[in-house]
């Protein structure tokens, strides 16, 4: 018995049958004596369909109007879920972002939740109602509808769980939990019972694709206990929390991210401020840089290599080419057939041999490493994309996960 926030993604409510399935799961949780708040995304392809309609009219619509358009997708799915729950005979009410008190910044298309005014939510819960809330949306201080950008519904769910001091926030998805590696690649991959926020953050940013980083960061900040689980199967998922009691496993997981392009600036002057000039040019255009490597070149020059997402490579190259002489680069090279393979585990920080074991696994498999990046709880290597699956399997086997 407690207060549970459940979140169902777009594929979990894609059609009538799936909406009925979600209605059953929600009412089971309510019947077990819990107060239940449910966050839903737009149904299946709704968002893409709405975007296509807009693009037919205008290839460059304002973010404000796109936010209004997109937010209707969650408004549809939340009312449909409420209607399905009414059919089962339970008290239910659906609320849009603004009705649920979700106040955001004014950054249309990528707003941040500033505050949740829980007055209405608490009033409905006090009436013993199941409360359905539209994910991904809120309003800014000017009463404009805003959306939260990628992974927005996860963030909505965690923010609601934090504001309502929920006992747990359950994220229902296509997969039944967080695995030590992608089970489609590594047959011996195992589902984790539990994982820390920090490990999850590294896994998410490294391409594990289960929870969006913003939601995990918020869960960590407000200490919201998360559970990632399947919306189709009735089995335990993976708990995400602050600390794990028994720290048996050194490595929590192996991940692969194919959305990586490498750019290298060759022959830069070896003088202060060069790196700053390069990366401030990219930051001004909103291009995020991931791994950065700087090396001393020949004859008093240095080389800077870094990675961006594949979608940003063309724009990054244009900016750098336009400023090539100012930056003093001899040559700009790029490669967009790369992958980043990473191992993550909180136990790694106190165990020096982890990185070298990983490198040994790659050497044994005959895989060349282009770049290396490490943090307290992860080691990432940049390799050719064609070697990525082989690398994940080799590392997973080597650590005997």
């Amino acid at each position: 018995m407690g207060l549970i926030v459940q979140k169902y993604g777009g594929s979990s409510v894609a059609d009538g049958e799936r909406v009925k399935n979600v209605a059953n799961r929600v009412t089971e949780c309510y019947n077990a004596g819990n107060s239940v708040v449910v966050v839903v995304s737009a149904q299946g392809d709704t968002t893409d369909d709405l975007i296509a309609k807009a693009m037919e009219l205008n290839e460059n619509p304002s973010k404000r109007e796109m936010d209004i358009l997109m937010s209707s997708g969650e408004q549809i799915s939340m009312s449909l879920l409420a209607i399905a729950i009414e059919r089962l005979g339970f008290p239910v009410v659906s609320l849009t972002g603004w009705q649920a008190g979700v106040e955001t910044t004014s950054a249309a298309g990528n707003a941040r939740i500033k505050k949740i005014d829980t007055e209405r939510l608490k009033r409905e819960l006090d009436k013993k109602k199941i409360v359905i809330v539209a994910g991904f949306q809120g309003i800014d201080k000017y009463d404009n509808i805003t959306t939260l950008g990628r992974g927005g519904s996860d963030t909505s769910a965690v923010a609601l769980a934090a504001a309502l001091h929920a006992d747990k926030c359950e994220i229902y998805t296509d997969v039944d939990g967080v695995y030590t590696a992608d089970p489609r690649i590594v047959k011996t991959a195992k589902k984790l019972d539990a994982i820390t926020y920090d490990e999850m953050l590294e896994l998410a940013s490294l391409g594990a694709n289960v929870l969006h980083n913003r939601s995990v960061e918020m869960a960590k900040k407000y200490n919201v206990k998360l559970e990632v689980k399947s919306s189709f199967e009735r089995i335990d998922g993976t708990i995400v929390k602050a600390a794990i009691d028994v720290e048996k496993m050194l490595i929590r997981g192996v991940t692969r991210d194919n959305d990586v392009a490498k750019i290298a600036l060759i022959g830069l002057a070896d003088e202060p401020g060069v790196a700053f000039r390069v990366f401030s040019l990219l930051a001004k255009e909103g291009i995020n840089v991931d791994v950065i490597l700087q090396s001393i070149g020949r004859s008093n020059t240095k080389d800077i290599s870094f990675t961006v997402t594949k979608g940003n490579m063309k724009r990054a190259l244009e900016i750098l080419e336009a400023n090539k002489s100012e930056l003093g680069a001899n040559e700009i090279v790029h490669n967009d057939e790369m992958s980043k393979v990473s191992i993550v585990g909180a136990g790694m920080a106190s165990n020096a041999g982890v990185a070298s074991t990983m490198f040994e696994a790659l050497f044994d498999a005959g895989i060349n490493i282009h770049m290396i990046s490490t943090s307290e709880i992860k080691v990432s290597v940049l390799i050719d994309q064609k070697d990525a699956e082989k690398a994940v399997i080799a590392i997973h086997d080597k650590f005997g996960i």
Copy 2:
């Protein structure tokens, strides 16, 4: 130059091309120096599609949740229109019912507009923006989204025109104005340049199907000048206003309404309170009765005949059969193959010969009259449905409209 409210129905914004057409018309009006507020309905079949989705889940959904679901249809069309107008390079903002300050009663599915808080609307107009408003919707005092029921978007447009003291409210539709008869039936039907509110009210309730009565009543109450015109052709429509300067035409139009069923109670006791008992039974079930005729029967009994819509006939018969002995009726008969044909004209009140001219036209055409009902500005007859088209043509010709 002035403030114009334009309303476009669902067929006017049914697809991308039509949305672009509306965007052109709106910006032409703005370019002519006007402030422009545009009210839109949901695109084409959107509302029906949403209803079908709900019915798949629950055949008896709550009106509250249906209102949320349906209101997303206008939210989609308003943002798409704004996006199309942005493409043309004009300043524009779209507002949902609640953002536009439309406050309604709590009667979900059939709410009435109580008040429009014009603060936000005026602020956007002061910024020289074209303002798009979702029709058909508002919020009640508990911040629940409500819809206005049939003809709701027309009512939204007139209410906004009244609240903003607009110079004109233009209702764009499939037809290019109000005609003296249905042009599909009467080839010689003529478009009216102007018509009074009262005439329009009679025409609307008699099946002319151009403007919803609620919107005309509101326009009359607040003296909002309406114009009904085509969203496809660029020609003048029909003005609806308080009084028409030159009252040349005696008859403003001939209409036909096929949604009529007749019920007759035969052999009721000729005593006080019989009619009250019959119609209070029907009123309790929300069944509206239109034409009523009472006649003296044989041997101290009376007969009561009345009409209802075809959809209400079955229910009305059930109620009356269940109370047949209490009402003291010998027999209950019905006929759902009837039509109501009417003539409307404000000039009629001061001209006694109008009704008899109409009856003469029907007699010449060999058409039998079942019931007659008259008001200050209209005469209606109930005839067999098979004769309805012939009757409209005969009357239209007789008056030489």
